[in-house]
């Protein structure tokens, strides 16, 4: 789950991290007032979860309350890479000597958090990593001991800092790590972390991605989910509530399967045979019950673009006859007109096949044949 910049900064402030003075606004009038309160050159930033807002024009520098009002008006009317702008952050512009990078990320291969820091901030850290990897200081954090204060000073020294700046920066890195652990972040970064002429640091941008698996233990984020403030679409969110794993795609062939890997492979097979999937939908790796398939079908077919449906179930203990009856019942009840293609392996397969074929639903033996058939039917 991604947090908005203003949410991440609010947390940062609570932990004592220095952030620019700023206000969150929901109307152009509020933006104007915010500018007046800040009393200096400001930056108006669209609060969106998508990446690339800067390039898309979601950040405007303003030097008057009229400019602030106009910038806000424009931004509220924009969609940034498809995402509507609901809130803006109006912040004082902080002049900087240098832009640094400081962040913590889950290091999958090491199995721990890794702290990353660099004096090459303000740009894409992946670019720095590939262009000049020596410019990035890395430290793997022992999951049991956590990040020691002395380790943050070592990082600071490696970046070339000394004196008060060294201890200040070390403190900032410590706090970033503390937030990361407290909020179960997958990624937490300040880019840029500004170094001012006076030798102070300011977290000019702050980005937090919370581990979805940890949401059950973060009551503070439950409200966000309820308000639909996530990077998931409304349909994806609804599916998650019903225990399905769902991703909207831009094609027209609906896909339902059991098991994420199997469903991904099914999408790949549809592409292989010249089709475009409308969605990813995992009805549950354990075994797809008739009930879950029914729910999945309703979700997938609520997408108007879907003009064919491929159901791919590979399960040891799934009762194919039950699922078959469930599929037919759902088709009738929801008056589904789109062609349905099934591939199902499980108990009572032959009975399931008979039931489906009698209802005019092709029952294929392999997922590849199933994908090919679904593509063919979608083109008719």
């Amino acid at each position: 789950m991604k947090l908005f910049e203003y949410e991440a900064k609010s947390i940062a402030q609570g932990f004592g991290l220095p952030i620019p003075r700023g206000l969150v606004v929901s109307t152009p009038e509020e933006a104007k007032k915010a500018f007046e309160e800040l009393g200096k050159r400001s930056v108006v930033k669209a609060q969106v979860l998508v990446a690339g807002r800067k390039k898309a024009g979601g950040i405007r520098f303003v030097s008057s309350s009229k400019e602030a009002h106009n910038a806000a008006k424009e931004l509220f009317g924009m969609k940034i890479h498809g995402e509507s702008v609901g809130k803006l952050l109006v912040e004082e512009v902080v002049s900087a000597k240098r832009e640094l990078y400081a962040g913590v990320t889950v290091n999958r291969s090491a199995g721990c958090y890794t702290v990353l820091a660099s004096v090459e901030g303000g740009i894409d850290i992946e670019e720095v990593a590939s262009r000049s990897p020596e410019k990035i200081v890395r430290l793997d954090v022992d999951p049991i001991q956590g990040l020691r204060e002395y380790q943050t000073r070592i990082i600071g020294r490696k970046l070339g800092f000394s004196g008060k700046e060294l201890t200040d920066l070390a403190g900032i890195i410590s706090k970033i790590y503390k937030i990361c652990v407290t909020y179960d972040c997958e990624l937490l970064e300040s880019n840029p972390l500004l170094e001012t002429e006076q030798g102070n640091f300011v977290v000019a941008d702050f980005r937090a991605v919370i581990d979805d698996n940890s949401l059950y233990r973060h009551v503070e984020f439950q409200e966000k989910i309820k308000r639909g403030e996530t990077e998931l679409t409304p349909l994806e969110l609804k599916a998650r509530e019903k225990g399905l794993s769902y991703v909207e795609l831009d094609g027209n062939i609906g896909v339902i399967g059991n098991g994420a890997g199997l469903v991904m492979a099914t999408l790949d097979m549809i592409h292989y045979y010249g089709g475009k999937p409308a969605n990813f939908c995992d009805a549950g790796a354990g075994g797809a019950t008739a009930e879950r398939i029914k729910t999945a079908m309703e979700m997938v077919l609520s997408n108007e673009r879907t003009n064919a449906l491929f159901i791919n179930i590979l399960a040891g203990i799934t009762r194919c006859d039950d699922v078959a009856r469930g599929i037919i019942a759902t088709r009738e009840k929801a008056r589904i007109k789109v062609p349905i293609v099934i591939r199902m392996v499980g108990t009572n397969e032959e009975e399931g096949r008979r039931i489906l074929e009698e209802a005019g639903i092709p029952f294929l033996d392999s997922m590849e044949e199933g994908a090919r058939e679904a593509v063919a039917r979608s083109l008719r």
């Binding site: 990446a51 889950v106 999958r108 291969s109 199995g111 721990c112 958090y113 894409d124 992946e126 022992d142 999951p143 049991i144 652990v181 179960d184 997958e186 581990d211 979805d212 698996n213 940890s214 059950y216 233990r217 794993s245 991703v247 795609l249 399967g257 059991n258 098991g259 994420a260 890997g261 199997l262 469903v263 991904m264 492979a265 999408l267 790949d268 097979m269 549809i270 592409h271 292989y272 999937p277 990813f280 995992d282 790796a285 354990g286 590979l314 399960a315 040891g316 203990i317 392996v345 392999s366 997922m367 590849e368």
Partner: protein, 269 residues
Amino acid sequence: MFHTKLMLEYGTRIVAGVTPGKGGTNVHGVPVYDTVSEAVDMHKVDASVIFVPAPFAKDAALEAVDSALNPIVLITEGIPVRDTMELLAVTREKKTILIGPNTPGIITAGECKLGIMPAHVFSKGSIGLVSRSGTLTYEIAAGLTKSGLGETTCMGIGGDPVVGLTFIDLLEMFRLDKDTKAVALIGEIGGNAEEQAAEHIRRTSYPKPVAAYIAGRTAPPGKRMGHAGAIISGRSGTADSKIEALRNAGVHVAEKPSDVARLLADLIR
């Protein structure tokens, strides 16, 4: 417990179960205890397979580590990555093998299984199968069985971003297993486990043929595809990068799942 019955039927010697609050009961003939230490006091136990819900899974695994159970097969999906990282630090220190989390488990065809893999798709044969997936693994296994190749051992390393045993660990185990003639590696988008496996294969001139299938070639970037670890972040974790790395290491990468068995049949001949 449903899967306990299936494991017992397959030949796994399940000697005890642990469910806090259900000590003293009995499931399919298996006695249940409230704590792992009580279970190991009463029985000779080696391994543990854990089905505990995500919020309590780390605790259950640590309890198993504490009683020196090894390996620990962690079936549970949805465990916070921070919990897994802490658990992994402990298992590494204690030299306990962790399989998973978010895994269907491990099965040695015809002998024993720990987890939820459906027995009927596997048959005793010569292919070592290692995968990040669950049902996709069964798909591949069914193909291997159908082609007469069969499997020696099949293990799911799990769909999470941080896991215990890795592709490299399994490659090494298969290297030392005299019955395994070739390896099938099933990967997916997210992370760089496949790239690291490819590097390992190349660097050690891995002596057995390896075929692979990577799911998610057509997955959009930035979206989590079911598994917690299946997400393309920025430029890393794409299926194409994994396929390229594997091919450069001499691994035969299948275009379709059913090609895996065909590739291996040719390689073994």
